[in-house]
Homo-oligomer: 387 residues x 2
Amino acid sequence: MINFNYSIPTKIFFGKDQVKVLPEQIKNYGSKVLIAYGGGSIKKMGLYDKVIELLKSNNISYWELPGIEPNPRVTSVRKGAELCKEHNIDLVLAVGGGSSIDCAKVIAAAANYEGDAWDLVLDPRKITKVTPVASILTLSATGSEMDAGAVITNLETNEKLGTGHPDMAPKFSILDPTYTFTVPKNQTAAGTADIMSHIFEVYFNLTEGAYLQNRMAEAMLKTCINYGRKAMDEPENYEARANLMWTSSLAINGLLTYGKATSWSVHPMEHELSAYYDITHGVGLAILTPAWMEYVLSDKTVDKFVEYGVNVWNIDSSKDKYEIAKEAINKTREFFKSLDIPMTLREVGIGEEKLEEMAKQAVRRGTLGNFRPLEAEDVLKIFKAAF
Amino acid sequence: MINFNYSIPTKIFFGKDQVKVLPEQIKNYGSKVLIAYGGGSIKKMGLYDKVIELLKSNNISYWELPGIEPNPRVTSVRKGAELCKEHNIDLVLAVGGGSSIDCAKVIAAAANYEGDAWDLVLDPRKITKVTPVASILTLSATGSEMDAGAVITNLETNEKLGTGHPDMAPKFSILDPTYTFTVPKNQTAAGTADIMSHIFEVYFNLTEGAYLQNRMAEAMLKTCINYGRKAMDEPENYEARANLMWTSSLAINGLLTYGKATSWSVHPMEHELSAYYDITHGVGLAILTPAWMEYVLSDKTVDKFVEYGVNVWNIDSSKDKYEIAKEAINKTREFFKSLDIPMTLREVGIGEEKLEEMAKQAVRRGTLGNFRPLEAEDVLKIFKAAF
């Protein structure tokens, strides 16, 4: 286990009707709010009206930034930052999924920055001051509600990049599982794949002695496996939605990473797919994951796959190591298939002709991952295996 | 899963040599510190000298409260509160185990209270303001380094009671596993039993749908089982000490409780043993736990024991329910025995003549627990079974 500095300051108000705390929580930071949200889903389910009613009845002024894209674009960030500057916004409130929250975070940073917002994505060190951010979550997936990172897309440059700053972590997030009752099956599936991928990114890791972190990661993986399909079949199953929602937050808030030297592999590969083809992030992750696992399986990594197979999939530990590893990878692929996720790049409309370019782009910030470090040629092979 | 409000604000600096952050962290709160500690162990291992050197070289003034008892007494709290008032202390720094930290917390509350410190133990609602608290941990056990509670003993009234306030949670805690290298075998064993008991108190619970919390609890139990004996046999095994230390914090910081309606059983029973006989808290817990488990096993609770037996002890799930449950309880008892803990009340010097009085005292604040609520007569039966 390596040294770490733990700080997870986001307050979480979890459960049915917790939105009632919104006004008093906002008032800790001021009285002028920018509401950032995506499409019409929060209006359809009545959440938008509820939020507006709570703000109005508590004399909180608000401005709105609707239309945030599923892969949030820097153009939206720029618009939001303008609104913040113009109206001296005290708090940026994201209402939605990870896209709205990620966008809100970078808006809150850009509101305190003189130059162009894209600078803050290219170089997080340029973030010095951040307007307080909060969120009301409507999709269990990215964990953005409890972490300090954000991923923003620039369609002009075909780039989808991560940025972050400790002060970008939401001051508070409201997690009401009933807000995810209306999430369609395919998005529930993609969200579950996203959560699992966050866990895989830090679980498949060679840091020694992080036993507790590994067992906790398995606890979270089991939760996804237990409830992923159930939430699709019974969209109003509170227990399933609640477990997925809380897992989405804990999977990436630091709990599984503290004590390990982690470096992600599958996310940066997938970001190229989304940047070039605007596909659903979680679907891209699900497609790449088993191909990546097969590619990185080696004498150096096989024990980790055995741990995974035995502890998560209950595979008989007396079997041959590689047999267990391969069975575990197959079970992973079968699980994603059981969520009706198309499991090839071809099926989601990705063309073979761009694979090489995307592979090169994926490593432009350097080698990917430390479980089995990946160069452009490795990424290309994984893309081809997943094609 | 029930609604919850999550807030775990304590910062943790975990790992070797993290004590170096002490001065800069203290300076966030002021420059006058009260150091609260127990016996000579922090002096023997050189930690005391290191702390003093860091304070002196950074112009931080300090006063000292040495001699805090293993079951910290209200008399120490009173002394500490006096020192705080007299010297306008900015931060109370506990250096030690849970006893020093618990004592520091109530000192920090009593420093801002006009009346007698014991009032704040009897009625936590009287705590209104708390001087910042921090800790340097030297024993993995109580989790006090990351929670908002404290247990104080009053030998005049034979009472050992818990109190708490959100502001009593340490602002930061330094967790360096090497500080536990010198913890003797019997205290390592007792600490491990204490950690496991904290997990049991919330794991054995009938709240439905807290699947994630249950799997995380099992992750932590497995960690204790994996490293408890190892830390005794190889006191300088960093991996073992680190895993136990981090588990001690996470077991009781709220992570396992949020989402459940919990009410503890074994701790309040044990508090009577310690209040009357000043025995080691963790030893009392280990003795009572299997007796308690056997007593509360019923048709209503057996499924929980099956979950425990199968997931934690890898007992064959195809066996009969009660067979699994009893095997799991036996494995628990055998595990504590393997830590060389004396497993009867008699062996630790407790007299049969006080059992009834202690049982009555245990329930004076009301029925214990909600897994199987316990009245005085139930507690007495458990005491007798453990005698």
